[in-house]
């Protein structure tokens, strides 16, 4: 696992935000590593543990708890569709299906809370997430870190075109 200097500097700087306990830096470090590598590998977990003078289990138990962390690589572009009530009422279930179809992702039938789904070509991955806090403009989704509101199914091809 190669940590570029810029990332290493950023990590060291972030640790200073927690003068009382380095352990508090676990979540920010996991975010930084996931942003860089796309997911949190076993190697990354061991690395964070060593960096913060903790046991790997202290890190692993967070990776498995928090929904945003992934232990395997997502697609090149990752789509998160809000599943919760107001968005569901505004059509998010059918929006997810449309995304899957347009992005060539096979969706197992009947599963609401499917784990992260990835297309065979690795270009896109998708998951249902819980409330994204924009219930008034549902259905909403995120593609990578970009947020989209009032997403119509017709707009899906256009949206995907932006993420090649």
């Amino acid at each position: 696992m190669e940590i570029p200097q810029e990332l290493a500097d950023r990590i060291d700087e972030v640790i200073t935000h927690y003068p009382v306990s380095k352990r508090s830096a676990t979540l920010p470090l996991l975010h930084l590593l996931q942003e860089h590598f796309g997911y949190v590998s076993d190697e990354a977990i061991t690395w964070v543990a060593a960096k913060l003078e903790l046991e790997p289990i202290n890190i692993l138990e967070l990776v498995t708890f928090y929904p945003m962390f992934r232990q395997s690589p997502p697609g090149k572009h990752h789509i998160r569709v809000c599943r919760t009530l107001s968005c569901a009422m505004a059509g998010s279930y059918s929006l997810l299906d449309t995304f899957c179809k347009q992005a060539n992702i096979e969706k197992p039938a009947g599963k609401h809370h499917a784990h992260l789904l990835k297309g065979a070509d690795g270009k896109y991955s998708i998951e249902f997430v819980e409330c994204l806090a924009s219930c008034g403009t549902g259905p909403v989704c995120m593609i990578n870190d970009d947020f989209y509101e009032a997403v119509s199914e017709d707009s899906v091809p256009e949206l995907l075109k932006k993420y090649q």
Binding site: N58, Y66, F69, T84, L85, S86, A133
Partner: protein, 476 residues
Amino acid sequence: MPAIVRTPHPRERRIVFKNIDREGWTTDIDCYLKDGGYEELKKALTMQPQEIVSEVKASGVRGRGGAGFPCGAKWGFIRPGETKPIYLICNADESEPGTFKDRYIIHQDPHQLLEGMIISCYAVNARLAYIYIRGEFPLGAKILERAIQEAKEHGFIGKNVGGTGFDLEIYVHRGAGAYICGEETGLIESLEGKRPYPRIKPPYFPAALGLYMSPTIVNNVETLCDVKHIVKMGGAEYAKIGRPNNTGTRLLCVSGDVQKPGYYEFETGGLTMGELIYDICGGLRPGRKLKAIIPGGSSAKVLRADDRYKIKTKQPDGTTVEEEIGVDDIRIDFDSLAAVGSMAGSGGVIVMDDSRDMVWALNNINEFYAHESCGQCTPCREGSLWMQKITSRLLDGAGAEGDTDTLKSVADNIAGRTICAFGEACAWPTQSFIAKFRDDFVAYASKNGEKRSDSSKDSAPTEHKDGLPSMHSTGL
């Protein structure tokens, strides 16, 4: 953020949301300063910290995150002459389904939040503060980090703030998609780098044993913004806004089946549910009738359109008069919503019309809570999943005859038996949906029963001697 720009409704009273969707408004500190920004901080720094606490107490402002606990009383728990370091945490985890107010403050007016936060830190003598922002707001985190940097360059954060000798550092801390981190003690555990298992109270009241076992104040984004305005107008003047015990303005988020969903700011209790839905939000879609309202975020108990409530109202002469009101007449404030058996919660109003299936709606909510239970307490970890399995099988046509009662009994055995309020949050939807729409559930169950025909005979719930149907016998 490409927010949908809209002009405020004439009935709104915009104080916290003054700058939201404002023409030409940016997140730059120069824009904020040109508009009189950080003047309240300068004023606050001329006051004694204790004076600010007194003003906040006098304002009567109640926490805007959901519980409605008086902010001044919370601050008052910090012991005078406290020798341990004191921390302040801004709860920007906004994750109660139906709530989307803090998003706009964070993305469009970060300096208002910072100003409120710096004043609050000065008032409670916190020298280190964190903004715990939900992981799904990556842009919001960047905006806040930039705002903190700008505030530092202007000497509002850092060493010797405003020449007062008060040092303060504020950092942004991102969550990672877990709803339970909105619970203040879960948030604190998360900030300590642990699984966010809420702590039991007593003894772990954050104001006594909070972050790193030191006194810690956790306030919602909106509450911290309110502090700035309380300093500006004075506690007594602020308390004149709204109604007694429900002071100030309130941000309301309306979603679901109304013509104009969105965010609004009103004097607390300044309007009724009917006015909100029909006058402000343009009513329901043509040809549709109101069926249900969830008034304060998804964990608030659901209200049924034809409900009638007997409530007691205090008259100016001190006597109380009982009157009967309908859903449209409910005043939107803490006490009025509590009086009809629900809560104002986080201000998220979800409206459902007669096209909505209540079993489907509850199942959606149950899926949320089953997914978000932290798993620490058995009744919640198991019960939230059982409830979801039951509503899910009702929808899938595989329900059993007694499922409505089983569902209710599961919910009844979660509330009050857990470390944190998540237990109530996940039980209240099920309890209230069944109480208000029992027929819908029974209809599903019996329709399913027909389908199951003979094979269902040995899977009907059996009563245990304590009256609790066995979960095993219902196929869970």
